[in-house]
């Protein structure tokens, strides 16, 4: 077993789970603002007032009987994403990228019938994916078509950019790339690749998968060392506006880059994970303290 000593972690300024919860989330995040980020529907509405763009909302399924309307609507569409409004950690998100006769094609390439999607909607409404198991609503969004410059790095799925914003200042960022292991999801603990980004320039620093440093994408085989994010300043500004919209002092802002519409806000997270530090190879604490001071 390989261990790192608490002293060297401290020297690196690594933020840990307990300190994040006590000193940052509990201190800077108003409980009353949580529903704004825990409910994707509310997030969409509130950030829109601050000029932050989000993927186009196609339908909101609030009741069991509305599920039949979903089928009618879905007939017309090629690609869309079904999300539980109160889901967390990417749970319960189903992305449909195309059609194959009567079947829907998932991001992973698997073909599923309409009944499967309807059951999925039923589960969402019953609150299977919501944080406390409370009844939920499902939102159906336009499929984000990832800009090719980033999409080529990702195996299936849409790469997204996570920016940690502390009191309105973007402090750390990473690019998350889906892999086979993560089933097309940009979720680090499911096996997505995290690429640390220089917060001032948007250039890539390090990359990790399953907390282990890597240099090449495991599926696409592309080098991850010299990625450069376009429109970086615009994204930083978006992230800062999200702070104004929600008032949450410490949060994670997830942004995707759409081929047609540019950067879009995917979701906000009031409890952003710690893995971003591994992707950057730097601890969050020095930056957070600099902002606090």
């Amino acid at each position: 077993m390989d261990w790192i000593s608490p002293r060297s972690l401290k020297r690196l300024g690594m933020l840990n789970m307990n300190r994040r919860n006590v000193d940052y989330i509990a201190r800077y995040n108003e409980r009353a603002s949580y529903p704004l980020v825990d409910n994707k529907l509310k997030t969409k509405l509130v950030v829109a007032e601050y000029g932050v763009k989000t993927p186009k909302l196609l339908q909101v399924v609030k009741q069991q009987h509305e599920i039949s309307r979903f089928r009618e609507m879905a007939e017309e569409l090629a690609g869309f994403a079904i999300k539980p409004a109160k889901g967390s950690g990417g749970k319960g998100i189903t992305v449909i990228t195309g059609r194959d006769e009567d079947f829907f094609v998932k991001a992973s390439g698997a073909r599923v019938g309409a009944p499967v999607l309807e059951r999925h909607l039923t589960n969402i409404l019953a609150g299977l994916y919501s944080l406390a198991g409370t009844p939920d609503v499902a939102i159906v969004e336009n499929l984000v078509e990832s800009s090719p410059s980033l999409a080529r790095y990702s195996h299936q799925g849409v790469p997204d950019i996570r920016i940690v914003v502390f009191q309105g200042y973007p402090v750390m960022a990473m690019l998350r790339l889906a892999t086979t292991a993560s089933d097309g999801k940009a979720n680090l603990h499911q096996g997505a690749v995290g690429v640390g980004l220089d917060i001032s320039t948007g250039k890539s620093l390090n990359a990790v998968q399953f907390n282990r440093p890597i240099t090449l994408h495991p599926d696409t085989g592309l080098a991850l060392g010299n990625i450069n994010i376009d429109a970086w300043g615009e994204m930083l500004e978006m992230a800062s506006r999200c702070y104004e919209a929600t008032g949450l002092g410490y949060m994670g802002v997830d942004i995707v880059v759409d081929a047609n519409e540019g950067p879009l806000l995917l979701e906000l997270n009031a409890r952003p994970g710690l893995a971003i530090q591994m992707a950057n190879g730097r601890g969050l604490l020095p930056r957070l303290r600099a902002v606090e001071a």
Partner: protein, 505 residues
């Protein structure tokens, strides 16, 4: 980066822990509740036997019984005397056991039993008013002899104690002079001493002590002299003038009352037998707490059923402490925050191995059935409800199967909380679908590990003993949990998780 606002919090936590521990220490000293489970304390069982012959008359037999003997406290009292009316009468500093019967003939035997606990702190309450001395009228030539001996003793003493000692010394056969030989005879020695002391202005009286020796029968009381020194009654050996009551002497009678009065009977006799017993210190404390002002702080006076319920309930904070420690400091992932505690509580009732087997079989059978349920596309609430019913079926099946196979352990399945198990199965199954079987294994074994740790702590006899008998220790547990809520250091698992950061150090 502790901000100053946390100081009151730490003080409050410190006070909470200190209060819990000091209250426990106080109750240990004051009530004698033992820290350890197996503590035994000696108890003397003394039996007074009264024999007399009835003469076909109404009988009142009245025996002086100890009220507050120095160095002992009374645990229990009981009288055995078929056909007699019995009561204990307290009046003006003396306690008497009184047997009554309308018509008595032939030889009679009455028993009075009491248990005494050695208690160095037990002292009789000093009299509210100083006792009065009675001056006796002495006839000549005794009067002159008494005067001279008292004058002699007084000249060589300064306090009531030293006066008494001198007097006793002067009355001893080897130092006797003519004056004393005139006064002393073997029968009246003690009473003479009392009378002379009273005459000189020192209140004095007799007392009877019982020498405690294991398994002795037909013992008699030995006389002692007591004088009042202005503050309290002091006990002296009338022969050696040694002051104080020896540890093995139980003062059965103190004061002017007679030891035994039998009205309506002849040839009355009293003898004592005794036995040294040991009782668990805890039982002793429970018995003593009934009469004690501190008794209200404990659970001993609740009905037994509630007591056993509290025994269980009071273990829960320990489980919560283990979960808090495991999650905050160690960083073990569990499925459901306090599910491990509930599992541990079930383990306490089933014991570990049968409990583990039962739990694992219910959960794995449940997971298989849940697999079928998930293909039915049910609403969440009805799916969980169905799962609860299935879990009950599984439990019943395992119990019956186990019983038919001759394993009673199968029955213990019923101790598991059904609803919690159903939720556990549901969560595990979703985890399986969304993450992987590996994550199910990690969280499942994490939960079981925490549950086993909590079980090991909760099932330790000492833990059960301390939590039930010193419930105030939970203040300390609460304080520890609050402290852990402020722990911002690295978890043990984070040291592993962040290992790749070594490259950047």
């Amino acid at each position: 980066m502790t901000s100053p606002s946390r100081l009151p919090f730490y003080i409050a936590v410190f006070l909470l822990i200190a209060a819990g521990i000091s209250l426990a220490v106080w109750r240990h000293i004051e009530l004698g509740i033992p820290w350890l489970t197996g503590d035994q304390r000696p108890v003397w069982m003394v039996e007074a036997r009264v024999d007399f012959d009835g003469a076909s008359d109404p009988v009142v037999a009245s025996l002086n019984v100890p009220g507050q003997p120095p160095g002992f406290s009374i645990l229990t009292e009981q009288a055995a005397s078929p056909g007699y009316g019995f009561s204990i009468i307290d009046k003006a500093g003396s306690r008497r056991a009184e047997w009554t019967k309308r018509e008595v003939s032939g030889p009679q035997t009455l028993y009075f039993k009491a248990q005494f606990v050695p208690d160095p702190g037990a002292e009789p309450t000093p009299p509210a008013q100083p006792p009065e001395t009675k001056r006796l009228f002495w006839e000549e030539p005794q009067a002159t002899a008494v005067r001279e001996i008292l004058a002699q003793a007084e000249a060589r003493s300064s306090t009531p104690e030293s006066m008494t000692r001198e007097l006793i010394r002067l009355m001893q056969p080897d130092t006797r002079v003519q004056n004393t030989t005139l006064l002393v005879s073997e029968e009246n020695y003690l009473q003479l001493l009392v009378n002379m002391l009273n005459h000189s202005g020192i209140p004095a009286r007799t007392a009877d002590g019982l020498k405690l020796e294991d398994a002795r029968r037909r013992q008699q009381l030995t006389p002692f002299l007591q004088i009042y020194n202005g503050e309290q009654w002091l006990t002296l050996n009338p022969k050696t003038a040694a002051q104080g009551v020896p540890d093995d002497i139980l003062l059965w009678r103190q004061g002017p009352e007679s030891l035994l009065d039998v009205v309506g009977g002849d040839n009355s006799e009293i003898s004592f037998s005794m036995l040294r017993q040991t009782v668990p210190a805890l039982q002793l404390a429970a018995m003593q707490s009934k009469g004690n002002g501190l008794g209200f702080l404990s659970f001993y006076e609740l009905p037994i059923e509630e007591q056993s319920m509290f025994r269980m309930l009071l273990l829960l904070p320990l489980g919560a402490l283990v979960v808090a420690f495991m999650r905050i400091v160690i960083g073990i992932r569990t499925s459901g925050t306090f599910m491990p505690v509930l599992i541990a509580v079930a383990f306490v009732q089933t014991t570990l191995i049968p409990g583990l087997i039962a739990f694992l079989s219910v959960v794995s059978i449940g997971l298989m059935m849940r697999g079928y349920l998930s293909s039915l596309n049910l609403l969440l609430v009805s799916r969980i409800s169905a799962l609860i019913i299935l879990v009950i079926f599984i439990t019943a099946g395992l119990s019956i199967f186990g019983y038919q196979m001759g394993f009673n352990t199968g029955m213990t399945v019923t101790f598991f909380p059904m609803v919690i198990i159903a939720w556990t199965i549901e969560r595990m199954s979703i985890l399986w679908e969304e993450e992987s079987g590996q994550e199910v294994l990690i969280q499942g074994s994490g939960s079981l590990f925490v549950a086993i740790c909590a079980y090991l702590l909760m099932s330790a006899p000492l833990a059960g003993h301390l939590t039930f008998n010193f419930p105030e220790l939970h203040f300390a547990v609460l304080g520890l949990i609050l402290l852990m809520g402020q722990y911002t250091g690295y978890k043990l698992t984070e040291l592993k998780r962040f290992t790749p950061m070594k490259a950047y150090d």
